[in-house]
Subunit: 333 residues, 2 copies
DNA sequence: CGACGGTCCGAAAAGGTTTTCAAGAAGTGA
DNA sequence: TCACTTCTTGAAAACCTTTTCGGACCGTCG
């Protein structure tokens, strides 16, 4: 199967390339009968227009780049899917490039993307901390998940403070009063922000953290287990644990189970991330906070489209997270 | 920041576009001094060649498509990374398109890819079962992970039979003799193949399956737990369990732990997939089988490059998996 | 019957690059 | 001095499509 060009189509239909082009693109100045003939010729040759040539002339490649540093693709993939959805079938495709946290690889990919004349760029960080701006580029850029350090750029991020707040709010509504928070690496703004939101909501409810402080540590099940043991030691009357990630939550559940402490009747547990392989399969299934990354991806695509039309934005926009209720939390009887 | 064309560079360097092109592309027929001048001009204008125009003329877009149906990206991502590695910086980028298991979306993406004039296509299935061929396309295609049903296509798959064999071999070398196999949905060839490999190796060692049969079920932790309970009931003297996936293995470990059966001293457990969030964080860390998907991606890229040069292959090639030893298996004292 | 307006079509330019080929300059040997 | 290479360079064609603009044709009106 080889490739037919517009010229071949035109010849077969007995018209000029110009008319063929107009016929295929729905331009009005072509007789219905002629158009019909061209369309049939195109089908017969299974003609598919050369996007490169189109791009050359329209100065639009119909392509955007998605530059990520998140190797496992845990955050990038939902964002990618959201973006693809938003661009829809309206002839823009997404180039995914993974820099794997390597600055020089990022530069390399950036050059490749630019020389492919992408119409825009979505930059996704590996963690929600501020990242260096790419600077002044010939195409619009939107930063997603991790904000740019340049306020002139447009950044779209998830609301981690709100997430912490939502988690604790849910626990309070379940009637819990002695709520602890075990979370990951304090060097992550995600950890700090979630903790801050949690404490804010507790304070509003006139409550204090069970255990007296936030238990920072690592983003791992092992830390979840260790911290839970220490917590139970120091504060055995705890009735809810807010874990900073689903991984940590798994560790928490594990120790609770081991200690024959029932979840959720005695202690409620809530996670963060809605990483389904962890959250759905746990015992019991984990109530958690979903970052709504697909939505973030859709918005990023929309903002990018807008910027491509000339209406550019800047600053940091924050998007709400979503509570996913499963069985690891329930009202206290 | 706008875009300089080769014309601008040529003008600034005081040469024709033809010479500028040759200078930048390392063609020999240009004086060193002239080349130097052109290169400096290009740098000064931060010129980056328009790949679309290049592709138009060379009939090479420097682009390959990676068409996947694996939404979570669990298999696609390592394959993508391997492919990117293999193509290296030699100016080919990878377009990732996720059809999400939807045939019409697949068709759509295929058309988009083709009209973007990709030089080749890697098709990644969501599961290792045979999938329908894309048929005769104007570019070379290699199927990875899931083989095409057309033997004229080239398919690259992982060796699930060998994987089952390797897992059981390892357990036997650890001195285990009463080995059970709990695995997922029997409708998956992956489940069948791994089981077959396991049984083959057992037979060679003069052994039979503990529990009398393969425990087929689902690819979930819950099934891992349920099956383990039944297994312990029916065959309490079991000394090793080969789980068909890391998820199932997690369920197995969970019940073993609950029953105070020590791993690995009394029962050894081996998983499958090396899905690190599950395997590394488990208690104890899980010995498992790695599918070597990055390698598969690299090979796919190489085969595709070869096919683009005209040396095309066909048939199904099988690639070996790799044993990852962690702490859930150990020699019997 | 001539002018005019509308409809449909095609020639040609444009977009940015690579490549071929010819031409000019400079050097070599006779 | 002439014929002939060898080095450099540039003009132009090519890749495929879109778009502009002018031309051909037909019917209508005065």
């Amino acid at each position: 199967m080889s490739r037919a060009t517009l010229r071949d189509v035109a010849k077969l239909a007995g018209v000029s390339v110009a008319t063929a082009s107009k016929a295929l693109n729905g331009q009005p100045q072509v007789r219905a009968e002629t158009r019909e003939r061209v369309v049939r010729a195109a089908e017969q040759l299974s003609f598919s227009p050369n996007t490169l040539a189109q791009g050359l002339i329209t100065q639009r490649s119909g392509t955007v780049g998605l530059l990520t540093s998140d190797l496992e693709g845990r955050f990038s993939i939902p964002i990618l899917m959201g973006a693809e959805d938003a661009f829809g079938s309206d002839q823009t495709s997404v180039f995914l490039c993974d820099a794997r946290g390597d600055t020089i690889r990022e530069k390399h990919h950036l050059r490749a993307l630019l020389s492919r004349r992408v119409d825009g760029l979505i930059v996704v960080g590996a963690r929600p901390d501020t990242r260096p701006s790419l600077g002044d580029l010939p195409v619009p850029v939107v930063y997603a998940y991790a904000p740019s350090d340049d306020p002139a750029d447009l950044s779209l991020i998830t609301d981690n403070v709100g997430g912490g707040r939502t988690a604790v709010d849910h626990l309070i509504r379940c009637g819990r009063r002695r709520i602890a928070h075990i979370t990951g690496d304090p060097g992550y703004s995600a950890a700090q922000d979630r903790a801050r939101g949690a404490v804010e909501r507790l304070t509003e409810g006139g409550l204090e953290l069970a255990g007296g402080e936030v238990w920072f540590g690592m983003w791992s099940e092992a830390w979840g287990r260790g911290a839970t043991r220490m917590l139970l030691d120091r504060c055995p009357e705890v009735d809810a644990i807010f874990a900073g990630s689903d991984e940590i939550a798994r560790g928490v559940l594990d120790v609770l189970h081991e200690e024959r402490i029932d979840v959720p009747s005695r202690v409620a547990v809530i996670g963060f991330d809605n990483w389904s392989v962890l959250a759905v399969n746990s015992r019991p299934p984990l109530t958690t906070i979903d970052l709504n990354l697909e939505h973030l991806g859709r918005i990023a695509a929309q903002r990018l489209s807008a910027a491509m039309e000339g209406v550019t934005g800047s600053g940091v926009e924050t998007f709400p997270v979503r509570l996913i209720t499963r069985e690891s939390t329930a009202p206290l009887r």
